[in-house]
Symmetry: C2
Subunit: 208 residues, 2 copies
Amino acid sequence: MGKKIISEAVVKRLPKYYRAVKHLSEQNVEKISSKHLAELLGITASQVRQDFCNFGGFGQQGYGYDVEKLKSELATIIGLDEQYNVVIVGAGNIGRALGGYQGFEKYGFKVQAMFDTNPIVDNVNGIKVYNMSQFGEYVQTHKTDMAVIATPKAAAQSVADTIIANGIKSIWNFAPIDLRIPDDIAIENISMSESLLVLSYRAKIKNK
Amino acid sequence: MGKKIISEAVVKRLPKYYRAVKHLSEQNVEKISSKHLAELLGITASQVRQDFCNFGGFGQQGYGYDVEKLKSELATIIGLDEQYNVVIVGAGNIGRALGGYQGFEKYGFKVQAMFDTNPIVDNVNGIKVYNMSQFGEYVQTHKTDMAVIATPKAAAQSVADTIIANGIKSIWNFAPIDLRIPDDIAIENISMSESLLVLSYRAKIKNK
DNA sequence: GGGTAATTGTCAAAAAAATAACTTGACAAA
DNA sequence: TTTGTCAAGTTATTTTTTTGACAATTACCC
């Protein structure tokens, strides 16, 4: 499959483009130029054009980008045209907050179930909480595509191993650890502690 | 103040260094070479040395880096030698999860209070929830250094404005929006929706 | 103590990313 | 038609980041 490798930097901007374009669409804006879009995101017009060019380009010279078309192209690129079934592992603080996270539904993800080694509630926001021992059986029979790791650090690697062993290919990891995973698994980390330390660093610098 | 500007790429690695070195310290490891540390983080030894060199370098040729010294240098650089008082704005799903977030305490941050425009609970994990109308008065009298924005998108900018107007210089933002803030304010965003879309993109690519 | 291996700090080269410049097609108005 | 303008797509340049190389320094062994 001869697909071009898109750099990490570009990939990280895709959601920003999508968000901005979605907003424009909701405002019934019909077209947008690279210059104007760049201003909205605080980047350069050149970068916008170069980024879109990576995916073939979907604008019209002298006119700009058609907002609806751009939105649907971006959605396809990002994969929002597909339906993902998601399970959440860990029903603690973070897991429960994620059970109520609107973003899943908004972008077409369906949260099927939650798992915990020691469930103290049997239901979060209408999502049933199962014992972790039932994980394998569940995901084998429910076409699960993606798993969220919301466990403590100590459990995260073994949970990841279990997830992968059961054929799930995408992991959203909230545990503060770099998981060891095979190349064919998609992973994305939300590292709150790292973010907090970056903020701490910036705060210190600014107050100097 | 003649301080060198540290690139964003380096800053983002600082927490990773700190985490790794802290772990080594807990294992009673006494010294570490750039080579070994690099292996732990999955980067090159050269980059480790280059990064540390930005801050003056604290290793010893032929020996390596003393773990305790490195840990304390990194803590100082990151600002963990200072105490921050924190308030959380927004007592919904995310705000409540953050009220129970262990990371604050672990890194020396003190959560003083929470605020909500319409508090439905008066206490989260022992943290008192105030009405947003009391925000100004509270932070003026409690030496608050940092605010967390855990409100819906629509409220985020005006909350940010209020935070800044009351003299708080650091913002940890969980709302899915790029806030407009002055240059002298430190900000760090946790963008769950962007992260989820990046994962969606990667999942789609990997399954091609 | 002297020789050898290890490892830093730093500089230079290479690679990657961002920005700027250029070329071309599309459209509107004359 | 023709022409001027706009803005995308593309190529070139600059800047930033990463990697590679090496002299200088130190620990350790004999």
